[in-house]
């Protein structure tokens, strides 16, 4: 065995989870290399440059925000485990977000990083539900959501024990599902708890310069700890022998070996790299994908009357359908993000206005379109998505918005698959999660989306947990 191409641990994918796993392992002296097919780090939470601007993808807001001094939450655990000083993330808190339901957003529940705001909104608008809501919150707070071996139960069933108004039920599920559920219609209760805490009991924040600040901190830690990284060099194949990964074939045709392999690319995606035929049916990839429209404005959104909301989760229909649509996009529901509306302090602000809208989308309706039809579909759906979302924020005349618009862009399920390798553009991965991160091969473990800790903080904790559980605790 050639020592130069043998690693203690090979990590597939330089997203948040892979980088976090890499930091832990390198810090404790493991010889680690991260293999990333793309030329940028971040995976599903990354950024790109176009026309001299940097666009974030993925991150609307960092969830799980708690203020300094609050301990024992995912953010604190993450900072400690990765030896990150919280000042390095330079987090700025949201101003206010909303869940807005009805054809014109008639029912609207505000929430901030102070949970009592959300609670009092529910008490005022759903007075008959508030006692049940408080019981549900007590149950959520007491639930052990990081257990690696909890039995799955239906979140809809648990929530209905406490909430009897379907409108409120859907208004609670909409943000929680949009920010992390890989399952249609329902969620596993443990996943619901993770997201409910992350969004409502904790909160939203963001560095002024967005996701690249977080990625820069992670990369610096990884480099300082001695971790290696190979960009534009994915893993093409995992060679199995006697139930273990014996070698990895890289995109460059090189062969390397590793005592352990951590894969952050998804469970079905990892399975497809394995050469062994197990005889079992292949894992099912997720069906939930999204489009996102991005509008760059020549002024602050507040100057158009859009200064109030940081994030708005909306739905115009009698029920909230969280499912893969028949059409290329389902614009009835979605998420608006206005990154300018975080509290950056009196001296700092984003130089341009940004208005982003995310909606559910169907991969196969985008995947096979010829290039000109694809571009035409993007233009048509951009208009539909933006028109739908604008019903839920203060009215701005069409010509005023056109006049204020500097640039637009849009990603589709096809974009997601092209840059992240996720089958079917499934941002939140497969519906079935693998809490212990095990695969068919004894020394190959999953981290990230398909391990099942959700959100950006969840992704990083997933990498940390799997590195600890499978490698550091055992050596």
């Amino acid at each position: 065995m050639n020592a130069s191409n043998h690693y203690d641990v090979a990590i597939i994918g330089a997203g948040m989870s892979g980088l976090a796993a890499g930091i832990r392992l390198a810090h404790f002296g493991k010889k680690v290399c991260i293999f990333e097919r793309h030329n940028a780090v971040g995976g599903l939470n990354s950024f790109y440059s176009m026309g001299g601007r940097k666009f974030d993808v993925g991150l609307h807001a960092l969830t799980n925000f708690v203020r300094p001094g609050v301990k024992g939450t995912p953010l604190t655990k993450l900072l400690r485990q990765l030896r990150i000083d919280r000042a390095e993330f330079a987090l700025c808190e949201q101003k206010q977000s909303r869940v807005a339901f009805g054809p014109e957003g008639e029912t609207s529940l505000r929430f901030t990083n102070d949970f009592s705001v959300f609670e009092s909104e529910i008490a005022a608008q759903f007075p008959e539900q508030i006692d049940g809501f408080r019981r549900l919150v007590t149950k959520v707070r007491a639930f052990d959501d990081v257990s690696l071996d909890a039995a799955p139960i239906s979140a809809r069933a648990v929530v209905r024990e406490h909430i009897t108004d379907p409108l409120l039920e859907d208004m609670l599920f909409c943000p929680v599902m949009y920010y992390g559920s890989a399952q249609e219609h329902d969620m596993e209760f443990g996943q619901f708890v993770i997201m409910f805490k992350a969004l409502f009991l904790e909160g939203f924040a963001r560095p002024l310069d967005g996701v690249r600040v977080i990625l820069r901190v992670l990369l610096d830690k990884y480099r300082q700890a001695g971790g290696e990284r190979r960009m534009k060099c994915g893993v093409a194949k995992i060679i199995a022998h006697a139930g273990r990964a014996s070698a990895l074939i890289l995109d460059s045709d090189e062969e390397i070996t590793a005592t352990h392999v951590i894969s952050s690319i998804g469970a079905p995606e990892t399975e497809r790299l394995m050469s062994s035929a197990t005889g079992k049916p292949p894992l099912t990839p997720g069906r939930l994908s999204f489009v996102e429209t991005i509008t760059i404005l020549n002024r602050q959104p507040a100057d158009l009357g859009w200064g109030g909301d940081t994030i708005v989760f909306f739905n115009d229909s009698p029920r909230f359908d969280y499912e893969c649509p028949e059409e290329p996009v389902d614009a009835r529901s979605g998420v608006i993000c206005i990154p300018n509306n975080f509290d950056y302090g009196t001296d700092l602000k984003l130089s341009e206005g940004i208005f982003r809208v995310t909606c559910l989308a169907r991969y196969d309706r985008w995947a096979t379109l010829p290039e000109d039809a694809y571009q035409a579909a993007k233009r048509a759906w951009f208009a539909t998505v933006q028109r739908s979302a604008r019903r839920f924020v203060p009215t701005v005349a069409d010509d005023a918005l056109v006049e204020a618009t500097l640039a637009t862009d849009m990603f589709t399920p096809r974009t997601i698959t092209k840059f992240t390798g996720h089958i079917g553009g499934a941002i939140y991965g497969a519906p079935v999660k693998h809490r212990q991160g095990r695969t068919e091969l004894e020394n190959v473990y999953l981290c990230g989306t398909d391990q099942g800790f959700l959100g950006i903080i969840g992704a990083m904790l997933s990498g940390i947990s799997m590195a600890n559980y499978h490698i550091l605790q055992k050596s």
């Binding site: 404790f28 300094p68 024992g72 655990k77 400690r80 919280r86 940390i464 600890n468 550091l472």
Partner: protein
């Protein structure tokens, strides 16, 4: 190494793992968990930092020996001395 120096080693590690904790008044006889917010992930890190920085091995069965600063000193000081004698 004295027991006091050993306590300092452990406190230095905790300061790096949990910079958000106030360590100025840690009582050596009281369980660390009872006066600081440390969870099982943090204790695992104390063990691993002892190995990384000082070459000290703490088997899982002995983790409870790290409950307080006093018990850390009682348990770890002989290990430090044995290591120094070998070195």
């Amino acid at each position: 190494m004295t027991k006091e120096e050993c306590k300092k080693v452990v406190l230095d590690i905790i300061a790096d793992i949990a910079p958000d904790e106030d360590l100025s008044n840690v009582k050596p006889e009281v369980r660390l968990r009872d006066q600081l917010q440390l969870d099982s992930m943090d204790f695992l890190d104390i063990v691993m930092e002892l190995r990384k920085r000082h070459g000290i091995e703490v088997p899982e069965a002995d983790y409870q020996q790290l409950a307080s600063l006093d018990s850390c000193a009682d348990y770890l000081t002989p290990k430090f001395l044995a290591l120094a004698a070998k070195g």
